[in-house]
């Protein structure tokens, strides 16, 4: 099924499944099969922000004063966040757009990916502020073995799906000989890989990101690197939306709401889903070990972060209708993180970077007689 940028077949747009139906043609949003994606797009657009709006002048000073082991925690965490958003800024587009069949979902994927590129740009903004030469941080992302190991686990499902999907677009279903190798392309396997990719994306957004957020906020909880935390708050607000989007896609698939075969595949893959979540939790714990190898910081250490990994893993897998993996963890070991994640608090206007309650376009219309005290006639 070769991709066409404007499908000229006549078909009922609203009878299409989310993926692997007809290729999309008219980008119309007047009626939606899954209204949720239109809602997500609107919400995401209303969240628009730019990293330059956040003042990071204080962070430079804070960073210079951090002890070495805390610099290691901060910089490693930042590298990891950069890696995650580098992947997310392009992969949903490359992987999902060629096989999507609903205009509102297509646009959601584009909107979603676009907002990840803003996150990537904000890491550059942060890095420029804390070190004289950003290259020393960015260049290490592809060299540092701990980061590379994580890059592999984050991207493997995407890559496997994209590989098969490419063969499908060029050659269609069937058994093909490519460069002397036999490639078998079946719709079932394509859908299975798509489902697992979506699960791993959900893990990336719902667990991996949140572990990194916890580290960023732990600095700000001590009134250090607060500009950075403000940016991460904005990123966290976006990610909460993205993970809701992925949860919806996974649940629509698992319930066979528009493609019965996906329900079958989801049932078949239940063990894989649990395995992907459990593996990610373990990788995050190993990462915590690396972060705190030279020492803990006030308010956060390896054990607490590992408990948080278990807690957040429980929450996220339960949201997909699975049993919790770590039943011993009941309460959030980092209760203060809720207030940092709360998006009610997020307001950024360039002229009011210090006051997060400032509303864009709002006017203080309250006048007290004291305001007129030095007013002479």
């Amino acid at each position: 099924m070769a991709y066409t940028t404007f499908n000229r077949n006549e078909f009922d747009t609203f009878q299409q499944p989310m993926f692997f139906g007809e290729h999309v043609n008219v980008a119309r949003y007047d009626i939606q099969k899954h209204k949720i994606f239109e809602n997500l797009i609107e919400k995401q657009l209303s969240f628009f922000w730019r990293p330059e709006e956040v003042d990071l002048a204080n962070d430079r000073k804070d960073f210079i004063d951090l002890p070495e082991h805390e610099k290691h925690i901060f910089v490693s965490n930042l590298k990891y966040q950069t890696l995650l958003d580098s992947v997310q800024g392009r992969s949903p587009n490359i992987a999902f757009l060629p096989v999507v069949s609903l205009p509102e979902l297509e646009t959601w994927i584009e909107t979603w990916s676009f907002s990840e590129t803003i996150h990537s740009r904000s890491y550059t903004h942060i890095v420029r502020n804390i070190v004289p030469n950003p290259a020393e941080i960015f260049d290490d992302i592809t060299k540092n073995e701990y980061i590379v190991r994580r890059a592999i686990s984050v991207t493997q499902y995407y890559d496997k799906f994209i590989e098969l999907s490419n063969y499908y677009q060029q050659l269609g279903e069937g058994t093909h000989k490519v460069n002397g190798e036999t490639v078998e392309v079946t719709m079932r396997e394509l859908k299975r890989r798509l489902y697992l990719t979506m699960v791993s994306v959900n893990v990336l957004e719902a667990i991996r990101f949140y572990v990194s957020f916890a580290c960023s906020f732990a600095f700000a909880e001590r009134a250090k690197m607060e500009g950075n935390a403000k940016i991460i708050k904005l990123i966290a607000r976006d990610e909460a939306l993205h993970l809701t989007g992925t949860q919806h896609m996974l649940q629509i698939m698992a319930r066979g709401k528009d493609d019965a075969e996906f329900a079958d595949i989801a049932e078949e893959c239940r063990d894989d889903v649990v395995r992907i979540f459990a593996e990610a939790a373990q990788q995050e714990k190993d990462w915590a070990e690396y972060l705190f190898k030279d020492g803990s910081m006030i308010g956060l250490n390896k054990d607490i972060l590992c408990q948080y990994v278990e807690y957040i893993t429980n929450q996220r897998i339960a949201a997909l209708g699975f049993e919790q993996i770590f039943p011993t963890i009941k309460n959030n070991p980092l209760p203060w993180i809720n207030a940092w994640l709360n998006s009610d608090n997020v307001q950024v206007a360039p002229q009011e970077a210090e006051i997060s309650s400032y509303l864009v376009g709002a006017i203080d219309s309250e006048i007290d007689t004291a305001d007129l005290g030095d007013f002479d006639l």
Partner: protein
């Protein structure tokens, strides 16, 4: 009236000390960027504390002023948790606020229905949503951050 005019006249005469001489005074004009050294922030609480979880107790009647109808007090609904704890919902704007005001810890993030962090299971009763929640909800689940009880309810957090 003439006395007032006279007074204004006097004022304008005494204001002649103000001249545009091009001399900015002793203060040198700074071109160097000022990098704050952070000392003025020492001991300050983290910014998070300026945030806006409801300041008053949301279950106090004055927190959410409503038009009182004579002889029609706002209904009180019992909220029972699966572990046996019981609270009452009357005045708060959302179920989440009511639970928090009565010392029940609920996981939350967005507080407006899109993140799904506060997702809870509704075991008995029914709820009303102010606005449609965006997070995925199974049939027996509710989002306390954007709903209020319509009857006595039993929930599992």
């Amino acid at each position: 009236m003439s006395a007032l005019l006279k007074k204004q006249d006097d004022d304008s005469q005494t204001a002649d000390g103000f001249e545009l001489t091009g001399d900015a005074g002793e203060q040198p004009f700074e071109l160097e960027p000022v990098i704050p050294d952070g000392s003025e922030r020492a001991g300050e609480a983290p910014r998070q504390t300026e945030f806006f979880l409801p300041e008053q107790n949301p279950e106090q009647p004055e927190a959410t002023p409503q038009i009182e109808f004579e002889g029609m007090p706002r209904p009180v609904f019992g909220v029972t948790l699966h572990d046996g704890r019981q609270v009452a919902f009357q005045n708060a704007a959302t179920l989440l606020e009511s639970l928090e005001a009565q010392n029940i810890e609920v996981h939350y993030q967005c507080r407006e229905g899109y993140c799904g962090s506060c997702r809870a299971q509704l075991l008995e009763g029914s709820v009303h949503y102010h606005e449609e929640p965006m997070a995925w909800l199974n049939d027996d689940e509710i989002l306390p951050c954007c709903c209020i009880p319509k009857s006595d309810i039993k929930i599992k957090l």
